[in-house]
Structure formats: C-alpha cells, structure tokens
C-alpha cells in the first residue's frame, strides 16, 4: 500500500494542502450502467476513496413477494434483473419444485433451457455493447443492440412479451413453440455467428481496446473465489466453475455444457470471456434444439392459484449471464411464501470490488471497469 499512487498523492496533498474533492459518479452519468452511483473522493483525476450510493432501484421485492400467492410472484420476479430476466423465473420455480419434490416434464425442461440460453445471448450482447460504449466505440453498441433485438423478437413470438416473458410457472412453462419458430431461431443463430466475425474485427482485435482494458481491475484466481464472484467474472480468473455443470437444473444434465476458462482476470480477459461464452451459448442452443423431446409442457399441480407448498425451505441456483442467481424460498405450508430471499450476482462485484479496485484508479476507467464486470444495479438493490 505504501508505494501506491494514491498513497503518495495523499502525502503530496497534505504537503501542498490540495483539497480532496467529492465527485458524484452518480445516478445521472452517461458512463453509469443503470441507476446506481459511486461517491468518489478524488485528488485531480485519481480516486482516493469510494462510497457506493446504492438504493435507487430498491423496490422491496422480498417484502412484496411475501404478500402474493405462489403463482402471482411469477409476474413480479423477472423484474429483478432487467438485462437477464429469465434466470429469476426459473430459479424461483425450481426452488418451489424442490420443496414440492416434483420433477417437471422433459420438454418443459428443454423449453426453460432454451429461454435461459436465449436470455443469456441477449444479455451478453447488451454487456458487450455497454463495454464498447464505455470506451467510446458506439458503432459496436449500435450493431450489437440491433442484433439483440432479433432475439427479443423470438422471445415475443414464444412468450408474448419482449423483455419480461413470465414464461415458466411452478410445474412447467405456459405455452409451447409456435410453428416456424425453430427455423427462425436457427436463422437468427446463424446470423449471430456470421456477425461474430464482424464483432471480432471491430471490438476484440482493436488495438486501442487492448490498450484501454489491459490490466484494468485485476482479480486473482483465489481472490475471485474469496470475494464471491460468480459467472463469467469467476471463469475469466481461471476457476472452471459453472452452476450449469456443478449443480445442474432444467435440461442441463442432458446437455454437455463446455466450461470455458481463461487465465488473466483483468478487464480484457473478461471481455474475451463473454465473447467466447457467447459463441458457446449459440452452439449449446443448437444442441438443445436437436435433442428436444416431444410431450407435455406442464405438470398438473391442480389449481395453481390455490397452490399450497408444504412446510420447508430450498435454495435454487441458476447460472445467469452475470453470475449465480440464487433464490432461497421458505414456506410455512400456506398459500403465500413465508420468505423469499434473492442473491444477486452483482453485489460482490459492484460493492466489494469497488472498494478494492477504484481507490487506485483514474476517473477515465470507472465506466470501462464497471462494464467489464457486468455490474447490474437492480440485482444489488432488489
């Protein structure tokens, strides 16, 4: 700590009584992703201390979910993480199905897996676009968000809504694939794969991106596990852990999920990690589509609006594009959940790593650092 620039700067500051001033990298800032803020105490352009200013998106989900029926929470749950809504629905339903000790039909499992992977694709596209915009490459953001729209069209066709699908319910899914949907899904996947070459040329082989992101926000292999990072951030630091392989749910036991890891742990490795996982997700959807069985898409749990879950508790984990989304559901045997606790993947990255990385960083890298860690403020505040 002694030789770090900010320590020396604070020494100089005392000598020349430079004042440490407060800069609000606050909620209204083009570089900020979502409605979140850091209060940065700075000298010149070097950050000396950081205080997270969370809570702008706090809606008290856990309190609201205690007052609604089991099935009514499905309309509330996807709103927790806007970029990647499906893992919330699947995690909530898996937790209920764990307590009920029921196994949903195979086709429902595959439908859930396909919506999860499509939501993962759309979230990766948005993440890469946000990273490109943070360092100024608006062309990449424009084209990636337009491609993400193609996936939202597919969601609209499958579930009836663009972003909040409310597609899986306890016991299965609400409706089946429309005819012509699978052909269009194949077409979109081929288009995305073709477009990937263009993204490589534009973003990942761009020398200035390498210069800007190299060495930014380094997380070592052990620290990543110790700090509780999950998902692409964990795998970019060299840990081969993926919830879809370690604790499989939905249709992942039937599919071989290839876990991609890289040594490196800095912002550039995380960006390349997201790009490689994007490519792997496309192939995973193709494999899932090939081996999708026919059959029932819902279990008959009687009248869902009068569903009574027996007394008990369960913790269900889902691998979202940002990390491990966990739902801890406690039921006292009533018509309404007694307690639903949500574990958002961005809390360790957004609040803890901010204390670790920001104090020695310059103001120009805060936006790129935040985009590389794919910090999604709604799942910090819930």
């Amino acid at each position: 700590m002694m030789d770090s620039p900010s320590y020396m700067l604070s020494k100089i500051a005392e000598k020349d009584n430079l004042t440490v001033y407060e800069l609000f990298f606050g909620p209204n800032h083009p570089g900020m992703h979502g409605n979140f803020g850091y209060v940065l105490e700075m000298i010149g352009t070097e950050i000396v201390k950081v205080r997270p200013n969370a809570g702008h998106l706090h809606r008290g989900f856990e309190k609201l979910m205690e007052q609604k029926l089991w099935v009514q929470n499905i309309a509330l749950v996807p709103r927790i993480c806007v970029a990647d809504p499906d893992p919330n629905e699947v995690a909530y339903c898996t937790a209920i199905e764990k307590i009920l000790r029921v196994d949903i039909p195979d086709r429902a499992k595959f439908l859930r897996t396909i919506t999860l992977e499509m939501s993962r694709l759309s979230s990766f596209l948005m993440g890469m676009g946000a990273l490109a915009a943070a360092v100024g490459l608006y062309t990449a953001m424009n084209i990636m968000t337009a491609d993400r729209d193609l996936i939202l069209d597919l969601f609209e066709w499958l579930t009836g809504a663009r972003v909040y699908h409310m597609f899986s319910i306890p016991g299965g899914v609400r409706n089946d694939l429309a005819d012509g949907f699978v052909e269009r899904l194949y077409k979109v996947l081929d288009h995305l794969e073709k477009r990937l070459i263009e993204y490589d040329k534009l973003l990942f082989e761009n020398p200035i991106i390498h210069k800007r992101l190299k060495g930014l926000g380094y997380v070592s292999k052990e620290d990543a596990v110790k700090y509780g990072l999950t998902g692409p951030n964990l795998r970019a630091s060299g840990n081969p852990y993926d919830v879809r392989v370690d604790d499989p749910y939905a249709a992942y036991p039937y599919l071989d999920v290839r876990v991609i890891t890289q040594e490196g742990g800095d912002a550039l490795t995380r960006a390349i990690q997201i790009r490689l996982e994007f490519e792997e997700t496309i192939n995973l959807i193709r494999r899932a589509l090939k081996t999708m069985p026919e059959g029932e898409i819902r279990l008959n749990l009687g009248n869902l609006s009068a569903l009574k879950v027996p007394k008990g508790e369960a913790y269900a984990k889902v691998e979202s594009s940002k990390g491990e989304f966990g739902y801890y559901v406690v039921s006292d045997g009533g018509m309404k959940p007694y307690r639903v606790a949500v574990r958002g993947p961005s809390l360790p990255a957004g609040l803890l790593l901010a204390q670790k990385h920001l104090p020695k960083m310059k103001i120009d890298d805060v936006a790129a650092w935040m985009a590389s860690l794919a910090i999604c403020p709604p799942d910090i505040d819930k």
């Binding site: 800069l23 570089g31 352009t45 360092v135 490459l137 062309t139 103001i363 936006a367």
Partner: protein
C-alpha cells in the same frame, strides 16, 4: 467598411460549411452503424433550437469565455486562404495561424473552468494536455514544409503546389501527410483522441454546464474549427484549389478521412493519447524532416 462585410461574409460561409460537414459526418457515421441517421441539415436544426432556449450562466467569465473561443476561431479563419483569396489582405503566416488557434481553445477552457463543475475542470485539463500532445508532431511537419518552400506564408506554399496532382505536397511528402493526418485527428477532437469530451467518463467534459445559447456557441466554434483545420490541411498538402467549390470538396475529403477513423475506433486514455502522439506521428515527422534536410 468593405472589409467588415467581407469578414462577416467569410464567417457566415465558414459556419455554414462547418455545420454542413457536421451534419453529413453524423449521417456517414450512422450509415457505418447500419442505421438511417439524421438528415444532413440536422446541425442547423440543433443550433437553431439551442439559440431558442433559455440558458443558465454561472458568472460573466463563462459568457466571455464562450465568445472568446468563437472569436479566436473566427480570427484564425481570416488568415487561412480559401482558394487563393482571403477576407482581408494580410500575410497568411503559418505560425500566426497556429498561435491564434490556441486562443480559441483557451477561450473554451476559461469558460469551462468558470462553470465550477469538476467534470468541466477535468475536461479542460485534458483538452490542454491533448493540445500539448498534437502540437509537437504538427509543428515538426510544418517546419519541414516551411524549410522546403523557404516561406512560411500559407498562400505561397499553396501556390507552390499548383498544376497537376503530381506536385501536391501530399504526393511529394507522403510521410508528412500521414503524420499531419494523425495529428489532425487529435486537433479536431475526433474519436481516438477525444478524451476531452468523453461522455462516458466525464459527462461531456468542458460542455457539462453549457446549456442553451452557450452550447449553441460551442457548436459554432466546433463548426468553424472543422473549417479552419481542414482548410489548413488542404492548403498545406493538397495545393489550395483554384475556385471555392473544389476547395470545399477537398476539405470534405480530409473531413471524410477523420470521420471514417472516428467511427471505428474507441478513445485513448489521455496519457495514452499523448504518449501515442509523441511517439508514432512524431517519429514519422522526424523522418520526413530528415528527408527534407538531406
């Protein structure tokens, strides 16, 4: 009196061309991003709207700073020969032009610093550091041309390249043109070197507190700066044209190159930008200088 009308006419012409280039530039960037993009006259609409808005000022230094920045740029424009003739009969000395250009940027810096927003002060410090960065390679290239032509008057340098493309300075000194092109990217504040107005880092830098008429003045300043910088490049390297139309066309070619580079490159951090400017274009310019001297 006639000179006053000519000066006013030239200023309007420069502002018109600058805004036109900005509008077409936004359209081209939009087409690279596969989208439709705004109409080419969008910059005029923006300036029209900005001047119709209430604007909030913090102190008189901010008002004067903005006026000074526009006046600085307009005065620079008067000394740049447009297709051979100029607003007022003076010597178009290259060193005088570069000195005057600094005044424009200092005016903007003064206004931004007076606005009291920390983002603005960081933006100002970046703008001045960037100025430090791009002036050294640009001067070296000009030094080479001045030594080669034996005169520092832009008009004579332009006339020395008359006749056919073959004896344009761009063809005679390709390295010098390449170094000046990279430096021009920084002078105009385009993408790889646009750390001073980086929205994602310091919320559009110096222009943070500018609203309404002040932002209108900033737009006009940027428009005139486009006209001036491309004008200098055309006179130095593409043998300032015989009539105004070909002059504007050549100016657009130079602006097109900067726009194409801006569309596909992210921005450097400020210290990376200065390090890049002092190594890559600087070395090319020194090689060019050596070729000229030997």
């Amino acid at each position: 009196m006639i000179a006053a009308i000519r000066v006013f006419g030239y200023s309007l012409f420069a502002i018109f061309i600058g805004l036109l280039f900005m509008g077409i530039g936004r359209k081209i960037i939009a087409r690279i991003q596969l989208r439709l993009g705004p109409p080419f006259y969008q910059a005029f609409l923006d300036v029209g709207k900005l001047f119709a808005r209430k604007s909030i000022t913090h102190n008189f230094v901010m008002d004067l700073g903005m006026i000074m920045s526009l006046a600085g740029l307009l005065s620079t424009m008067l000394f740049v020969p447009v297709a051979g003739h100029m607003a007022i009969k003076t010597s178009s000395n290259l060193i005088l032009i570069i000195y005057l250009m600094a005044i424009g940027h200092l005016g903007m810096a003064m206004a931004a610093a007076a606005s009291g927003n920390p983002n603005a002060t960081i933006g100002v410090s970046r703008a001045l550091t960037m100025m430090l960065g791009y002036e050294i390679p640009f001067f070296t290239v000009m030094l080479g041309l001045i030594i080669f032509n034996g005169t520092s008057s832009l008009e004579l340098i332009a006339q020395s390249q008359a006749g056919g493309i073959l004896n344009w300075n761009m063809v005679k000194f390709p390295l010098g043109f390449l170094a000046a092109e990279i430096a021009l990217q920084a002078i105009m504040g385009e993408k790889p070197f646009d750390a001073m107005v980086a929205p994602a880092e310091i919320a559009s830098g110096p222009m943070v507190e500018l609203g309404g008429k002040y932002l209108g003045l900033a737009f006009l300043t940027h428009a005139v700066s486009i006209f001036v910088e491309t004008g200098i490049m055309v006179n130095l390297f593409m043998g300032g044209a015989s009539n105004v139309f070909t002059f504007v066309l050549k100016q657009f070619e130079i602006y097109l190159i900067t726009i194409l580079i801006e569309a596909v490159f992210p921005r450097f951090r400020i210290e990376q930008a200065v390090k890049f400017l002092w190594t890559v274009p600087m070395s090319i310019a020194v090689v060019q200088l050596a070729i000229i001297l030997l």
